[in-house]
Symmetry: C2
Subunit: 355 residues, 2 copies
């Protein structure tokens, strides 16, 4: 039954009676219900406690009427079992011992996600049970280049000097890091699918800092490796081939490259015209996006107009999943989130090509 | 004589015997000579003292062999005479009283640059004298949208929530701010040309945070206003029509729009393929860029290869000015800067189409 769900059909570019919608960071700080849970535990404890991760994952589903749930977790959870300590403070994540040398790269482990990240798989199982088939569950992981940015830089950065410095000065070591991250991520996503994830999303938040040639060599190549490993796995085949979504923040320079990522769906940010994305990708990928998250700060009529514009430029061909171009920002009014969901349902319900 | 200079001819897409080169922030913290001056005065005092601004502007010219000088100043100097206090601290610029309301927008002044920013024009005159015709002098200003980001946000920002918040919730007030900035910038650039600037560059560092439709409405429109005002001015005509360079950081989503900016040269960042830029702009604009500033951290052979790649993708048609895709970073080794200049001179000196 889940395979027939609106969201999964749109991922496969099959006709749907309306455009499905979910939002990145739909379980998050903008919700009072989430804040109440976070008052009791730290962010890391929340990620590490399956019952709580399940609770916050489910919070926005019925409240807003999203067409998919996404596992509550963090892309950095794979780093500690690889041998990298991560501290979550108020100023974002901090890695006290980042990967800076060839020796550091060689020391990185490729962990077994079942034993080392079992709490995530337990959360996936609990969420599936909690959803009871209402909407599909999306699992996720960070894309290798984005994880490498955190691993090498040691935290957020303006120019990513350490990461690109290593990439330019010792590309062989940087490739070792990326390969280990790709194998870790592929095994991790496979375990999530085995535990019940019905789609998976790779988050490439930082590959948009690269020149196009570097993007192909250091980012796209390892996205392909993850996709190929996942598609080649027994779990993936026996799971009926769950859709793979590739979200690339700052995607505009690399659209033609993305079409060769091997993923089923390209998630795009807001700094690109959705019509241009559709033209460039043709019938090779479905698309997901691309409302500016800050458009949710606009008055109601203007916000409705922006939603209509995204729907209009995506056109009526099958294969559009409505989403923001980035995560919901904490100061967002939940009523605006509901307005976007309702507007997408209303405006996209008229007859569409092939539907 | 200056009109025949390599750099100015390339701006006009006239054939040149080799590709001219200068670098954004070529006068800056990576140079010991600059650091020595900065030990004696604050950044703001340096911008405000014509003799010192002249001294640091000239420092890199002969040392590295750049083909153009650029006025040492800061894009934010126009804000205090508009009525906005700016404090330069270690964490970047800070505006204690940003523009957040319709009333704030109405209060903004459109200053007379000759009386309020005379120290800049004095620096321009001193630099022209100091250069004595060796290379042309580029004047500059911030583009209206980028200046509005600082004015509204009050400093640097991750998501520019205040700026976009105002843009979405009260576009009329935001347009008032942008119009006043455009008129201020146009008059300011006109005064620089009158004082002796032989080309001008508009820096649009932040317009790359906008969805394409918003870019056209809130950024490009005001770039055009500046360009039109400048081209319509008597000073511009009597100055022989100095070239106008429009640098847009994160330009990839808006290339077709940029071709309608009215500028002569498009300055591009590194997250775009230079060949793609040339194809999209055709013969409508010259191009400037686009080496990743962090490529200067690479070993010599790899850096030379990256320079060759930029030259190769720009092709041999007239109208390429070599530059970085963003400013030189402070930890850059000056020897690498020299290597880039020498490599561009060497590799682009072979016979080129039309040369």
């Amino acid at each position: 039954m889940a395979a027939d769900h609106l969201f999964l059909r749109a991922c496969r570019r099959e006709p749907t009676p309306r455009v499905p919608i979910w939002m990145m960071r739909q379980a998050g700080r903008y919700m009072a219900e989430y804040q109440a849970v976070r008052k009791k535990v730290s962010f890391l404890e929340l990620c590490g406690t399956p019952e709580l991760a399940c609770e916050v994952t489910l919070q926005p589903i019925d409240k807003f009427g999203f067409d998919a749930a996404i596992l509550f977790s963090d892309i950095l959870v794979v780093l500690p079992p690889m041998g990298l300590e991560v501290v979550f403070g108020d100023g974002g994540p901090d890695l006290p011992s980042p990967v800076r040398t060839a020796a550091d790269a060689r020391k990185l482990a490729v962990p077994d996600p079942i034993t080392d990240l079992g709490f995530v798989m337990e959360a996936v199982r609990l969420i599936r049970r909690g959803l009871a088939g209402r909407v599909p569950l999306i699992g996720f992981a960070g894309a290798p280049f984005t994880l490498a940015c955190y691993a090498v830089e040691g935290g957020g950065s303006k120019n990513y000097e350490h990461t690109k410095g290593l990439m330019f000065s010792d590309p062989a070591s940087f490739h070792i890091i990326l390969d280990k991250l790709a194998r870790t991520v592929a095994a991790y996503l496979e375990a999530q699918v085995e535990a019940g994830a019905e789609a998976v999303q790779l988050f490439d938040s930082w590959a948009g800092i690269l020149a196009p040639g570097d993007y192909r060599e250091f980012a796209l190549r390892y996205v392909r490796q993850v996709v190929d490993l996942l598609r080649g796995s027994r779990t993936w085949a026996s799971g009926g081939g769950v859709p793979i979504i590739y979200f690339l923040n700052g995607c505009a320079p690399y659209l033609d490259d993305c079409a060769r990522s091997g993923a089923d769906v390209l998630g795009v940010d807001w700094r690109v015209d959705m019509g241009e994305v559709r033209r460039r990708l043709g019938d090779r990928m479905a698309v997901q996006g691309n409302l500016d998250p800050i458009a949710l700060f606009a008055p109601e009529d203007r916000l409705r107009q922006r939603v209509a514009e995204v729907l209009g430029s995506a056109g009526s061909a099958p294969g559009h999943i409505f989403n923001l171009g980035h995560g919901i920002l904490p100061p967002t009014d939940p009523a605006r989130v509901k307005l976007v969901v309702d507007t997408v349902r209303e405006l996209s319900s008229s007859p569409r090509d092939g539907a």
